[in-house]
Symmetry: C2
Subunit: 599 residues, 2 copies
């Protein structure tokens, strides 16, 4: 039978009508002569009522029904006699069932289909089809779908062409480790799953498509952390002949559409601030500041260069900084012990301590207060601290100070409940360094990627490797609530500039040719000025869904061991599969199953 | 400078305006004091005119410009003084250039950017970014984008949720050979790139999503033929609680949207015929008949069972058939030699010959005419053949007859120009056999896939393996112009039926568990009735683009050796990459390039 509508959408407007519904049994209450079933589908719940007076066969059938059975019912929509539920779309009605058919039975599920039930991550993933029945997971994936739908609609309306680029691509020394795919036709050769469609989209601009986009899967074989997955999705855009400002405007309008369609939020692009990378580092100690939080970093280096507290004065003399954040009203919230414990945390950034002061009506106190007897007033003025505030300092080389105070700013804001969760704090970060120094490996790497165009005025710096490392780039990151949503740039479209970039990255001419020869050659045939951006769909969906775990917005994610617990992939394969590829692996599966025809 | 509009869109409405345009130099004619440039972008061409009287600097700059340079110009839109081109959107105007800037130079391209220039397939693919500049390739990919845009808009409006399923999945013995992806974290284990999202979409129905879709990449490691690629794209849909008829209706409406948005064709779903598989085989000898062609197969078995032509009578006695097609007006078009040559072609189907008769005003003639002296009138009546027609016969076992006459019907139609290329002949083929016999391997395989639901009345046939092989299925294929566009079915949602299906396919219970245990287990927790379809986007785009080569609608396809000639993927990789995976391969690349940061 064709359903009348979703169960969750049956309401007073159906009163007096006979409806047919299908769905899952959320709950059954058996009062003997009367049975109630809450029927669930993706739109919500409706109450089914079974009684002799409605239909005795249906009542008897309902006795056999259990939780998570799939049933079809036909019945009359009537006003509830009591127990009206105002929080439920169907809360004022019930369906008096005349016919019940069991479409599928169900064993007792390993966890209840309920947002409030806790189950281990791996159990949830093993029974993902049950986990996904929970209303919150339904909401999350539907939200994600709304983001992509808004993206398709917006970019299509703006003349962007949806072009698919290959997933069986070339392994290039770019970014993280590649996932490899052995070729059977060419034994010993491998495709690589792309880490992004970057090169292909540049080639599409070279081909004159002018406005490209793709909802593209990307792959990185990295060790997994909380918000990383082996495969992830990029909302990938590239344009020709547009300036950085024009692209940022376009992305702003796109975000307006997404925020409206996905969460019903009226985003005003004029309210999105643009910060230079330097300004973000200075004010927040990070290139992805959470602008929902105040507590900006205050530079006290000048004030402290002659401080009697040698930790401060020495840091400045050594070329470093003294900076502070003021945690409003937090003086009483933290004991000396509680603050000392945070030192362990900031040691990971290289900090050797976490000096602090409490401001009281009587002045400052704390273990280092004695050093500031003379310049207490100047300190108060510089920091703007008020009685009741806590001041937290970092004094070290600039990167240590930045990392320490960025982390403390976010930690204190969270602990003191100073983050307005209703806010969506977008920000653009621009004018990035082209390179960044990697101290662990003592080498310079691309701050974004090797195809990023330097600022016009820095082009001549690329004539030397050392100069190149000082250049800034036409790149722009979009930040939301302290997360990097996406990273964009104007790209290099000229071979001579691209060659200098690769040289500054340490490529010999031969290595550059081997890795990117096709791109360099392409640039000799008239590539247009181009730029674009890639937004992380998983992260955007995660933020809009209000979770901090990316797995909550992915239908079938991998766990932290790279395994998908439901199918148990990856698994050993049959030896013949490896033989076909000319490969030897440490183990084989004992598999001998027949082939089947294709759909 | 921001462009005023696309070059190809500048027309009389811009007369008297100063415009800024960017694009590629299609052609340059240098008349000394006057230079004409055709400027190209994705919307078309516009004529730029350079002369002293407009701007002498620009004129001099234009002297240096060559074909495929990328330029930016600013100039005045004026009426052409002569040489009006009615076939060109901008054909009545020219842009009198006041400023020219070269944005990128270009070497002489290996082939001209022109639809009429022939270049070898591999040369086109090696310089794909140039090949894609050709207007036809631009049109093809834009057409493809229109299909996906229409799909997103239609399915979103109909409550379908766009859900991404994993590309790093489990290798299952289903269909073709899997592409494998070695796992580094679990050495010796492999992911497989999915051959379709089939199992995941069924699990999503189990999860209650009710209406799922995805524009999904799929992967098959098969030997490559003309219309096959290692990776291809499916428009993949799945629904719960819908009948076959409801799903077919929905797909019809979807096709109406696509045909409208992609090619401006007003498709009337009421005109789409539904044929049973048996009817299609009987009338056309194929399960994907091209309904633009008449010439249906005429069954003459009864008439010929006592024929004096022993080839015919013996075929019937041996349990086979005699069937014929009538090629209208073709009697004079083919010599005896020309018809004899077709025998070689049909031998591949097992046919031992290709008997034929020509119908003239004087009666029938040809080498076998003498056998039909007596029943010539009956033959004319049965076939409806007229003077001037050619009758072509096949007499053999049914599959040989079907394959032979299907091929001949299409071949004669093409040769005799009997196909109306302006028609879009959709058809549904329903009521498929559940299994088909594979004579080469002497075994029974799924006609579609192992998750296809048998017809309700055939369910009890599944109690035995032999019975199962006789069952018919709730499956429905959509055919367009003789190509299978997509294949759909109602799926099995009950474990007991699924187990019987797998048994009938030759799976032991243990092998079934190993391959599909997660699905079988899921079905124990209340899976709803479900069904769906997957349409081949590449093939649909190919047909709507009017080409018969799938590579013409893919941005960066592989060639017939599985290689992408531009990047040369697949390639050997560094030994360390294989060591990381615990693999040994026959060759390694001598690669030692630095890593780079990620975008």
């Amino acid at each position: 039978m064709k359903r009348t509508n979703y169960a969750g959408l049956i309401d007073e407007s159906y009163l007096g009508q006979t409806v047919t519904l299908q769905g899952w049994v959320q709950k059954r209450r058996d009062l003997g002569a009367l049975i109630f079933i809450d029927l669930r589908d993706r739109k919500g719940l409706v109450q089914l009522t079974f009684a002799d007076e409605f239909n005795s066969e249906a009542l008897h059938a309902a006795e056999q029904v259990r939780t998570e059975y799939v049933i079809e019912v036909t019945g009359l929509v009537a006003a509830r006699e009591g127990a009206i539920n105002e929080n439920m779309h169907s809360g004022k009605i019930e369906v008096q069932v005349q016919h019940l058919e069991v479409l599928a039975t169900a064993k007792t599920t390993p966890f209840a289909i309920d947002d409030n039930v806790e189950a281990s991550d791996d159990l949830r993933l093993k029974y993902r089809y049950l986990d996904l029945r929970r209303p919150q997971m339904q909401k999350n994936l539907i939200l994600r779908s709304k983001i992509t739908a808004a993206t398709h609609a917006f970019l299509d309306a703006n003349g962007f062409i949806d072009i698919e680029t290959p997933y069986l691509a070339k392994s290039t020394p770019e970014g993280a480790r590649d996932y490899l795919v052995p070729s059977r036709i060419n034994p010993g050769s491998f495709y690589a799953l792309p880490q992004s469609p970057q090169l292909f989209k540049q080639l599409l601009m070279g081909a004159g498509f002018d406005r490209y986009y793709q909802v593209a899967r990307a792959f990185r074989d990295e060790d997994l952390r909380g918000d990383r997955q082996p495969e992830f999705t990029q909302l990938d855009v590239e344009t020709s002949f547009m300036s950085q400002a024009e692209i940022m405007d376009l992305v702003n309008q796109w975000m307006v559409t997404i925020m409206d369609k996905a969460v019903g939020y009226d985003l005003d692009p004029a309210q999105i601030p643009t910060l230079t990378w330097q300004e973000a580092m200075d004010r927040f100690g990070t290139d992805k500041p959470d602008l929902r939080i105040g507590m900006e970093l205050i530079d006290l280096s000048e004030l402290m260069q002659n401080s009697t507290f040698s930790v401060f004065s020495k840091a400045v003399v050594d070329g470093g900084q003294v900076k502070a954040i003021v945690v409003p009203g937090a003086a009483q919230a933290y004991s000396r012990k509680a603050l000392d414990q945070k030192v362990q945390y900031v040691e990971r950034f290289g900090a050797k301590g976490l000096p602090w002061l409490k401001v009281t009506d009587e002045g400052i106190n704390g273990p280092i207060a004695k050093f500031f007897a003379d310049d207490s007033a100047a300190l108060m003025e510089a920091t703007g601290a008020q009685a009741g505030d806590l001041i937290v300092f970092a004094a070290d080389q600039n990167p240590v100070v930045a990392a320490t105070l960025d982390a403390m700013r976010r930690m204190f804001a969270a602990e003191q409940d100073l983050i307005d969760e209703s806010q969506w704090a977008f920000a653009w970060i621009v004018d990035w360094p082209l390179f960044e120094y990697q101290p662990e490996e003592d080498r310079w790497i691309s701050a974004h990627h090797p195809f990023t165009m330097p600022n016009e005025e820095d082009l001549s710096l690329l004539d030397t490797v050392e100069g190149a490392h000082q250049a800034h780039a036409q790149s722009y990151d979009l930040v939301l609530n302290g997360y990097e949503l996406g990273s964009g740039s104007i790209r290099i479209h000229r071979m001579d500039i691209q060659q200098k970039m690769l040289r500054a990255l340490g490529f010999t001419p031969a290595a550059a040719q081997e890795a990117f020869g096709f791109l360099l050659e392409g640039m000799e045939y008239g590539f247009p000025p181009m730029g674009g951006i890639a937004l992380g769909l998983d992260r955007l969906a995660m933020l809009l869904a209000g979770t901090d775990n990316i797995r909550e917005v992915i239908a079938f994610p991998k766990n932290s061991k790279g395994t998908e617990p439901m199918t148990e992939a990856p698994l050993p394969v049959a030896k013949i599969q490896l033989d076909d590829l000319g490969l030897q692996a440490p183990t084989y599966a004992d598999i001998d199953a027949p082939n089947m025809a294709e759909e």
